[in-house]
């Protein structure tokens, strides 16, 4: 089965360790208000139906650039939407010895997703908010499954990175971050926590698509806000990075 690919970034340095081939897949079940890639949301949106062999070939060609730490990252969109079609590709990548990251919101759960996660070397789990009401306001969905997916990763000894987009007045509440910290503090499988600053680089895409950008009035984080959040996260986690 063909995989719907939105685009590639062959020098990915922010989505997992080392240098990575990042494959942005088309289609997402969330509707995050701040989404920087609105063009990847619609599963029927403009994308390229790609033979998994082509992706495998790209990754194999690029292997010398991966070094000791790098590899391939599937991002999106929400890659687990295409879990079933990704499984054979993941198997082939593993056979080639290529390190696989999966950047997911953790909200989709079925047997295919479970198998995909099993084949993944490192999960980048995006938790958008800990407070479910605020999570719904921000994404249009509950965070319940995301937290369950995290628990599954922990129980199955699957290493993951926790990623948190800091949107001022949407996901910047101290009490929510504290609650998240307290919840995940005992987790052994969280190798690293990344705070992703909120940015408006995707706004022009909304205009181009004739969509209204709802967070127009939200300013980007100040360095002080980021530092404050980092210190707060560090009370719960050892390795905290601001991307």
């Amino acid at each position: 089965m063909a995989i719907k690919v939105h685009s590639y970034e062959s020098l990915g340095t922010y989505d997992g360790p080392g240098i990575r081939l990042v494959v942005f897949l088309q289609g997402c079940n969330f509707r995050c208000l701040y989404c920087a890639n609105p063009d990847t949301i619609n599963p029927q949106g403009e994308s390229k139906a790609t033979d998994p062999q082509d992706i495998l070939r790209m990754a194999t060609n690029q292997k010398p650039f991966f070094g000791k730490k790098g590899g391939i990252t599937f991002s999106g969109g929400e890659p687990t939407i295409q879990a079933k079609d990704l499984i054979p590709l993941f198997r082939m990548l593993k056979k080639e010895g290529i390190h696989i990251c999966l950047d997911t919101n953790g909200s989709i759960w079925n047997e295919d997703v479970k198998e995909l996660l099993t084949l993944t070397d490192l999960v980048l789990l995006d938790v958008k908010e800990f407070n479910d009401i605020r999570h719904r306001r921000l994404t249009g969905h509950s965070n319940a499954q995301t937290l369950e997916t995290a628990a599954w990763l922990e129980a199955n000894e699957k290493p993951f990175w926790l990623r948190y987009v800091l949107v001022p007045s949407y996901s910047s509440f101290r009490e929510d971050i504290k609650a998240l910290g307290a919840h995940f503090h005992p987790y052994r499988m969280i190798e690293r926590v990344e705070i992703l600053p909120y940015h408006t680089l995707g706004v022009h895409k909304y205009e181009a698509m004739g969509l209204d950008y709802q967070l127009k009035k939200v300013p980007q984080n100040t360095p002080e806000e980021l530092e404050e959040a980092r210190i707060l996260f560090e009370t719960y986690f050892i390795k905290v990075y601001v991307n």
Binding site: S7, Y8, E9, S10, L11, G12, T13, Y14, G18, I19, L21, F24, M58, N61, Q62, P64, F65, F66, G67, K68, K69, G70, Y241, V242, N243
Partner: protein, 740 residues
């Protein structure tokens, strides 16, 4: 006091390679031993900064002597700050004062003087007009109508017919290791063996060797002017640096070749420094001082140029290329502490385009050195990298340097004839226009069939293109043979050749420009529908493109292989032609900054590029067409075969710091990994810029804030604020790899 080094073949023959191999102390540690500049160094460099400010204020030329013809000995000694100079010697009697060298061409000198607000001395003009012929006159006497037409219409451009060819590197280390007396003796011995029969070649070589001996004798006088006894070998580390510099200084006094490269002196000098350190006569601060002060001198080298030259080689480059690192064929690394010390000058003195520091990269180099290189690149954007494993494998020597931008040269045993470049994109338009120039309608190549249809057919265009390239190779070869014949005759590099083996191997370095434009155009014709729009005399004015086509720079074999095939074909055509002095032809994919001027002279192309738009530099993918990120772009370039372009494949890579990673540590690590990957894939060369576009834009508006802002262009580095506005805009328009 003589220094006691490990003996070897070098004791009985002039063989610096053997000396280095026998005595080198490879260093596998990190950069923590390095020191800052001494007070003396700071004092000298501050004087230079003042002089550089004056130079900028005075339109790029601080001062100029229009009367004294520059020879090895014609200028009185000059100093920057005599009491603080540890290494002495200037090209003229004053720092940043330029000299005339009319052996290359009196008209060139006249023009350059006039453009700088002065007139060349009438006596000099009289001599070089009526009594002494120049290189430039010789070439134009012999040029055919055909060559003139290919040259003036922009098919062959930047030929070294109105400036000196450069590219020859003397083994300047020889002066330190042997001293002049021994070198003169060796050359005299060579001359004695050049006996009958007296063929043209033999006579010419005898005359050349005699010229070299005279140059060596003049260098002795140059040394005396500065109170140095160069007749004997260097006896301390300070003398070794000074001796090497004197040999190089003689070259840049006598010649103003486009590229006057230095070779690979750092690890040679390290042997002397290690010796003195071990004997307690030198400490680290003073070892660094020697290198800092040597580098200051190299940064002050200047040549007098005319505007037409600056159009193709922007930013007043001198290409004092110094090659650092690499490995021996036996697997030992050539990295020494002095490799680090050379890079450290970019901190101690600030970033600078010269000397053109070139790291010979191998994934096998010590991690500490690789990390330091990446760090210096991130901080200064002043280094370029070349694939040491690849060059040693294909070319053979493990004691080589880089001439000019990217070109391998086996030091002391090989030289090069520089050949500028021809325009592959414009040649493609000949194939589409029945052999006529797209701008003027001039018939350049006869018997090229007119295309059957305005909708271009790939096979038909390709067949024509091959015929055009064959003819272009022929004319190009003719021009090269004439140029190098005349350069030898009227402007022979006696000071440099005095430090090269008698009768060395020679490469004739051809070049191409506009490769990615030609290749994307072929791809458009092959994979999309391209229709030519023609004017009333049938010349193409533009192209209508329907459908998509793959572009070079996306790791897509469909188009990347068109590039590989094109270069292979043209290189093979060039190899079929007879070459002056039996030189071996090589080919480069390198533009320097001529990609702007070449673009200007080239009409609209089938890839959708409009008339006059600058080409991408060197082997770079065209700006903005590499859609899949930097690694895909690098992978495409890595496919070009070094075996088919042994003069070098230049790729200029610009990335914003953030794109390399989240923090300094990961940026260094990722840059190292990126280069390991690129070179493992068989790529040849990489210029690395780590810069923000905004900084360059700000520097255009406020140059005074960025006096030392350095950026790698194509195979060399320039001071950004010295570029013309047009070149600055072209640099800014290039692909900067940014995060999505």
């Amino acid at each position: 006091m003589t220094m006691n080094f490990k003996p070897g073949r070098w004791n009985h023959h002039v063989d610096v390679t053997d000396f280095v191999k026998t005595n080198i102390t490879p260093y596998v540690g990190n950069a923590s031993f390095l020191t800052g500049p001494t007070e003396r160094t700071k004092a000298v460099w501050n004087k230079c900064l003042e002089a550089l400010a004056e130079e900028r204020a005075n339109n790029g030329v601080r001062s100029l002597d229009p009367s004294t013809v520059s020879t090895i000995t014609s200028f009185a000694p000059g100093y920057i700050d005599k009491n603080n100079e540890v290494i002495v010697g200037l090209q003229t009697d004053e720092v940043l004062r330029r000299a005339i060298k009319p052996f290359g061409g009196i008209k060139v000198v006249e023009k350059a003087c006039r453009e700088n607000g002065t007139e060349v001395d009438p006596k000099v003009k009289d001599i070089f007009t009526h009594y002494r012929k120049t290189h430039n006159d010789g070439v134009f006497d012999a040029y055919t109508e055909e060559i003139r037409s290919f040259r003036s219409l922009g098919f062959l451009t930047g030929l070294p017919d109105n400036y000196a060819r450069g590219r020859i590197i003397g083994d300047y280390r020889r002066l330190a290791l042997y001293g002049l007396d021994r070198l003169i003796e060796a050359k005299q011995d060579d001359l004695r063996h050049l006996t009958s029969p007296m063929t043209d070649e033999r006579i010419r070589l005898r005359e050349e060797v005699m010229e070299q001996i005279k140059a060596l004798k003049e260098i002795k006088i140059l040394g005396e002017q500065y109170g140095l006894d160069l007749s004997r070998p260097a006896e301390t580390a300070q003398e070794a640096v000074q001796w090497v510099y004197m040999a190089y200084l003689a070259a840049v006094k006598e010649q103003d070749g486009a590229a006057m490269s230095l070779g690979n002196v750092s690890s040679f000098l390290d042997i002397y420094i290690e010796y003195d350190l071990a004997h307690g006569t030198l400490d680290e601060a003073h070892a660094q001082e020697l290198i800092d002060q040597f580098v200051i001198k190299l940064r002050m080298v200047r040549h007098l140029r005319m505007q037409a030259y600056t159009d193709i080689f922007a930013g007043d480059p001198t290409w004092v290329t110094e090659s650092i690192g690499g490995r021996f064929n036996d697997g030992r690394v050539k990295v020494t502490k002095t490799s680090f010390r050379f890079l450290q000058t970019l901190y101690n003195l600030g970033p600078s385009p010269e000397p053109n520091l070139t790291v010979l990269w191998s994934p096998q180099l010590p991690e500490g050195f690789k990390d330091f290189c990446a760090q210096v690149s991130i901080d200064t954007s002043s280094i370029q990298y070349e694939n040491d494993d690849l060059m040693r494998e294909v070319r053979g020597s493990d004691d080589y340097g880089i001439a000019c931008c990217v070109s391998y040269q086996d030091i002391g045993r090989h030289i090069q004839f520089f050949g500028a470049r021809c325009n592959l994109a414009k040649a493609l338009l000949l194939a589409i226009n029945g052999g006529r120039c797209e701008n003027t309608g001039t018939v350049m190549v006869k018997d090229i069939p007119v295309l059957s249809n305005d909708e271009l057919n790939f096979e038909e265009v390709l067949a024509n293109y091959k015929k055009v390239l064959k003819e272009m190779a022929r004319v190009y070869n003719d021009a090269m043979n004439i140029i190098h014949y005349m350069h030898d005759k009227y402007y022979y590099e006696k000071a440099q050749m005095a430090f090269v083996d008698t009768d060395p191997e020679i490469n004739l370095a051809y070049g191409v420009a506009g490769m990615s434009i030609a290749v994307d155009s072929l791809s458009a014709i092959k994979y999309a529908k391209v229709k030519a729009r023609r004017n009333d005399i049938g010349l193409t004015e533009g192209f209508d493109i329907e459908g998509e086509f793959p572009c070079f720079g996306n790791d897509d074999d469909r188009v990347d292989h068109l590039a590989v095939d094109l270069i292979y074909y043209f290189d093979e055509e060039l190899k079929k032609l007879p070459v002056y002095k039996h030189a071996k032809p090589t080919l480069s994919i390198l533009t320097i900054t001529s990609n702007v001027m070449y673009g200007k002279k080239t009409g609209a192309t089938p890839d959708g590029r409009a008339k006059g738009v600058a080409f991408a530099p060197g082997a770079n993918p065209m700006h903005g067409r590499d859609k899949n990120g930097a690694v895909a772009s690098l992978s495409s370039v890595a496919k070009l075969r070094y075996r088919d372009s042994q003069d070098g494949i230049s790729n200029t890579f610009s990335i914003v710091p953030k794109s390399l990673g989240v923090d300094r540590e990961s940026r260094i690590e990722n840059l190292v990994t990126l280069m390991d990957g690129y070179f493992v894939k068989g790529a040849h060369h990489l210029n690395v810029n780590v810069l923000n576009r905004e900084m360059l834009e700000d520097a255009m508006e406020h140059p005074e804030k960025y006096p030392q802002l350095t950026i790698r262009v194509s195979g060399y580095a320039v001071n950004f604020i010295k570029l013309s506005r047009e070149h600055q805009l072209e640099v800014i328009s290039r692909s900067f790899h940014e995060r999505m």
